[in-house]
């Protein structure tokens, strides 16, 4: 995830203090991995250096982090371009899932057992994410659904692979 672009995007709403940006970042994007203050201020300093944001004067009576940041025109057009640009359609072709199956078959192990255990783990996680959706926050639901569809894609692959294990075993053995 691009932390600089996320912070710059949040700053595009209105001029903000570093503390407020960190707060909103943590609320929407961090998912249990809050952004350290150090990283917030280092990132904001870099955005300012590159002309994407302007640092205001420190406000009187406040600590060193009571500075307001404002996005520049350069920053705004960067956010605009970034939002519209599709991310690479990453097909996860180097997943451990795949390597484990192929190696199991090469080594003559029972890949079914691994796939069953993986299926159970995936479904367990899917139940947790589904529970998250019952909390009536659409933002939580949006994120949970994203995870759920990806896990479901893995599961379809697991089912199909399991159905083809005998043929696969022949192919990798030769």
């Amino acid at each position: 995830m691009s932390v600089p672009m996320a912070l710059l995007g949040l700053l595009d709403r209105e001029p903000s203090h570093g503390y407020d940006l960190k707060h909103d970042y943590d609320a929407y994007f961090a998912r249990g991995r809050p952004l350290p203050f150090g990283q917030v201020y280092a990132t904001l300093a870099r955005l300012a250096r590159d002309g994407k944001a302007i640092v205001g004067e420190a406000e009187p009576g406040a600590g060193p982090d009571r500075k307001r940041y404002t996005i520049t025109e350069t920053g705004k057009s960067e956010v605009e371009a970034w939002l519209a640009e599709p991310i690479p359609a990453e097909p996860y072709l180097q997943t451990d899932l795949f390597v484990k199956v192929v190696l199991s078959l090469m080594l003559g192990r029972r890949a079914e057992e691994y796939l069953d255990a993986q299926r159970a783990a995936h479904l367990r996680r899917m139940r947790e994410l589904t529970e998250l959706k019952q909390r009536d926050s659409l933002v939580d639901t949006l994120l949970a659904d994203h995870g759920l569809f990806h896990l479901e894609a893995d599961l379809r692959w697991i089912d199909l692979t399991e159905a083809r294990l005998a043929a696969l075993a022949e192919e990798v053995a030769s």
Binding site: M126, T130, L151, E152, A163
Partner: protein, 238 residues
Amino acid sequence: MTGANGSSLVQAGGVAIEGRNLVLSFGETPALQGADLCVKRGEIVAVMGPSGSGKSTLLYCLAGILVPDSGEVYFDGQRLDAMREAERSRLRRDRFGFVFQFGQLVPELTAEENVALPLLLRGTHREEALREARSWFEQLELEGMERHRTGEMSGGQSQRVALARGLVAHPDVLFADEPTGSLDSMNGELVMGLLTRVARQQGSTVILVTHEPRVAAYADREVIVRDGRVSSMAPVMQ
């Protein structure tokens, strides 16, 4: 093989319904070959597995719609499979609810009449049954459609009506066979959210057949049917 799992639940008490060593063939085709499933009261269990593995047949046996060639079905301490058909059909009417892939509503009846049907069959007075049925439409997000004929409703709308019909009489067990099978993702989410919320409120046990993992994820646990047998995915205790 999976019997150990079943009997531990029996000892814990609170079993809603249990099938033991169920075998059933359609002519030469074996559909169930020793299936075991034990479901606790109030539990929501997803039955998953490849197409043709015997999921629906298992559901129909547990619900007393089909009678297994051998094996036993226990509901509320009674042998469902050993009852006479009239007794079984009374039990289905009074204690069970059903939702199928294609709503199987009565197209000539209005939406509220369809929902009221299980109550009417149980002998509830018509006005009371319809009042109860109408009270469902807000949470179904179908307000204003009470008097529409279900033949004129969209797939998603009629499946929500079918769900209400399945749950309106507070069944001990709701049997749902691919209830989202004909729906798009959005309508599937609506139906599953509603199904699990209401079933948990009412304390209804749910047996949910589905091949979709996202639907199964609404359940408390899942079992997988393969070649007419149930393999539990619960961690193996040793």
